[in-house]
């Protein structure tokens, strides 16, 4: 098991999170869904070590994170944040160089990674002059250069046009084939169902359901989590979910 978290609890102000068990295996795509404020981003912050849990353990490959150094954790898990950084004069190349901090060999792959992400021409461009979508793809490239075992992505599809979104999920499935695990947060239930292997639905800081997507993403669970009536139908692109008031 690449990642195993048990009995996590965390509190900040009125918000509290409690999670009995959360695990990710090699070659697995895990989708996290839930309404705003349900603790999705907090969970990501806890798993990447940015926030410290009050109690509970997180293990990478069976090793407790508390016995791992910062750089060792970065080799196990990377994060593509929802927020786009605002450096004042760094080029895309400079950013990808920082991403190789825990993976010095990654410097050589920068050109190739940019090719995969569809932005080879932007390598020496000033990051701040890029469009929102280009910035996202650059940050995706950074995550790939870091080459951690688990790739965490918080709303990776934001700012992306359909073409780039397609590239994004293609890259995600390539990563999966390479044996990486991917954990992402998505708001779009249909996409969550389409791209994930396992899904975790969260509400009020707790995991309501976690398991294979076929078992978890159904009308009953969605009603429980979102408080809305969802209906599903089949389309050429897979199962779609829509809600009504």
């Amino acid at each position: 098991m690449l990642l195993e978290a048990s009995n996590l609890s965390y509190r900040k102000g009125k918000f509290s999170l409690h999670l009995e068990r959360f695990s990710v295996n090699q070659g697995e795509i895990v989708g996290i869904g839930g309404p705003n404020g349900s603790g999705k981003s907090t969970l990501i912050r806890l798993l990447t070590g940015i926030a410290k849990p009050e109690s509970g353990t997180i293990k990478f490959n069976g090793v407790d994170t508390r016995s791992l150094s910062r750089i060792q954790i970065a080799r196990n898990i990377s994060l593509m944040s929802q927020e786009i950084p605002m450096p004042f004069a760094l080029s895309v190349n400079d950013i990808l160089l920082t991403a190789s901090y825990s993976n010095p060999g990654g410097e050589k792959d920068i050109g190739e990674v940019l090719e995969i992400c569809g932005i080879p021409g932007l390598r020496y461009r000033d990051f701040s002059t890029l469009s929102g979508g280009e910035k996202r793809m650059a940050m995706l490239a950074a995550t790939i250069v870091q080459d951690a075992g688990i790739l965490m992505m918080d709303e990776p599809g934001t700012f992306l046009d359909p073409d780039r979104e397609n590239t994004l999920f293609k890259i995600i499935s390539q990563m999966k084939e390479k044996g990486k695990a991917i954990v992402f947060v998505l708001h779009d239930i249909s996409a969550l169902h389409k791209y994930s292997d396992k899904v975790c639905l969260m509400k009020s800081g707790e995991c309501v359901a976690y398991g294979p997507k076929g078992e978890v993403v159904n009308e009953e669970n969605l009603k429980k989590v979102f408080g809305l009536k969802f209906s599903s139908y089949d389309s050429p692109e897979g199962k779609r979910f829509a809600y009504s008031f």
Binding site: Q72, P85, F88, Y101, G121, R123, Y124
Partner: protein, 353 residues
């Protein structure tokens, strides 16, 4: 920025090397040329023989006495080298602090370096302290400066970490608090006002060789260490969360870098007073010329900062016959329009957001 315009995949290596070569030559020329500049005309041959005597003492090329010897060895050389070490340190300090705070309009002075040093200096001048002999003012300015930053840093601690906004605001508040004491001490001692005012403007006029050796040793060592941490600095510029997620021990690196910057800029401030503008603007000039990564911003700021302050020192010495204008005035008058020009000419699309 030429290299960042358009969709280039190739880094133009030649242009890049030329930029470094040109700047290095300009710095060397500035250092040598400044030796011949001053209020007193010294014949070329005398300057050359004095330097020969300094570098090859066994040749007895110069008698090691007389006004020319004193002017070149004890006035001009310390001023030029002082401008070099102080300009480079303040500029690198600015680059580091700007990266850590992710804020292009900060500089080392903002975390309390300047106000602390000012209080130290004014206390010495006001109470006429002489505990450390001729260097009492410098020692006090240094101690007050470093302790002010420590106070700022420690009071910004929240749950094991130092949030940046908190640190910045604490720095400003503590600086204002201390500046009030400085103002009070100046206000209540009329005879001090001229002296303190001159100190606040900054001056390179009284630097001694001992101060220089210490400043070069400590400051350039800190610059060397800081330069090794360019990846960490770039990452911090992308946000603490990002830096954390790629494996950087943010808090440890932050306190180490701030300590190094505080140490080196405090040394500068204690021997030269508050020379403004360099820490704020020079890193941007370097970024506009060489690009934004701290891999090049640190050495770039070092060269540009030294060159800039040497040029300012020459102007301060020569602008008015028989007078020395405080260098802090010159840095602002020359630097700000120059920076605006550079910004409009070279920035292109960068800095647009």
């Amino acid at each position: 920025m030429e290299i960042l315009k358009g969709e280039t995949t190739q880094k133009p290596k030649l242009l890049y090397s030329l930029k470094w070569g040109f700047m290095a030559i300009a710095l060397f020329v500035a250092i040598v040329y400044s030796l011949f500049l001053g209020q007193v005309k010294i014949p070329l041959s005398d300057v050359l023989r004095i330097m020969e005597e300094q570098i090859f003492p066994w040749t007895n090329a110069y008698s090691r006495s007389g006004p020319f010897w004193v002017i070149v060895v004890y006035i001009r050389e310390p001023e030029i080298l002082g401008a070099l070490v102080i300009g480079s340190t303040l500029a690198v300090g600015g680059a580091v602090i700007q990266s850590i705070f992710r804020n292009p309009i900060t500089e080392p002075y903002i975390i309390g370096v300047s106000s602390g040093a000012a209080l130290g200096a004014v206390v010495v001048l006001d109470f006429g302290l002489v505990i450390f002999g001729a260097y009492t003012l410098q020692v006090f300015a240094f101690i007050f400066s470093v302790s002010t930053v420590m106070v700022v840093y420690l009071s910004a601690f929240r749950k094991g970490r130092v949030p940046l906004t908190y640190l910045l605001l604490t720095g400003i508040a503590v600086s204002l608090f201390i500046s009030s004491f400085v103002a009070y001490l100046i206000f209540t001692n009329l005879r001090l006002q001229d002296l303190v005012w001159m100190w606040l403007l900054g001056s390179l006029g009284q630097i001694t060789w001992s101060e220089l050796v210490l400043a070069f040793a400590v400051n350039w060592f800190t610059i060397f260490v800081v330069a090794l941490y360019w990846k960490e600095l770039d990452s911090l510029q992308l946000g603490e969360e990002y830096a954390y997620s790629i494996g950087i021990s943010v808090e440890k690196i932050k306190i180490m870098l701030i300590l190094l910057v505080t140490l080196s800029t405090s040394i500068c401030v204690s021997i030269s007073g508050l020379i403004g503008f360099v820490g704020l603007i020079i890193p941007h000039v370097s970024r506009l010329i060489y690009g934004g990564s701290n891999r090049v911003t640190i050495p770039g700021s070092m060269i540009v900062g030294g060159l800039f302050l040497i040029a300012c020192e020459d102007i301060a010495n020569l602008a008015k016959a028989q007078e020395v204008i405080p260098i802090g005035i010159v840095t602002g008058i020359i630097g700000a329009p120059f920076f605006l020009y550079l910004l409009s000419r070279m920035a292109g699309e960068s800095y647009a957001t």
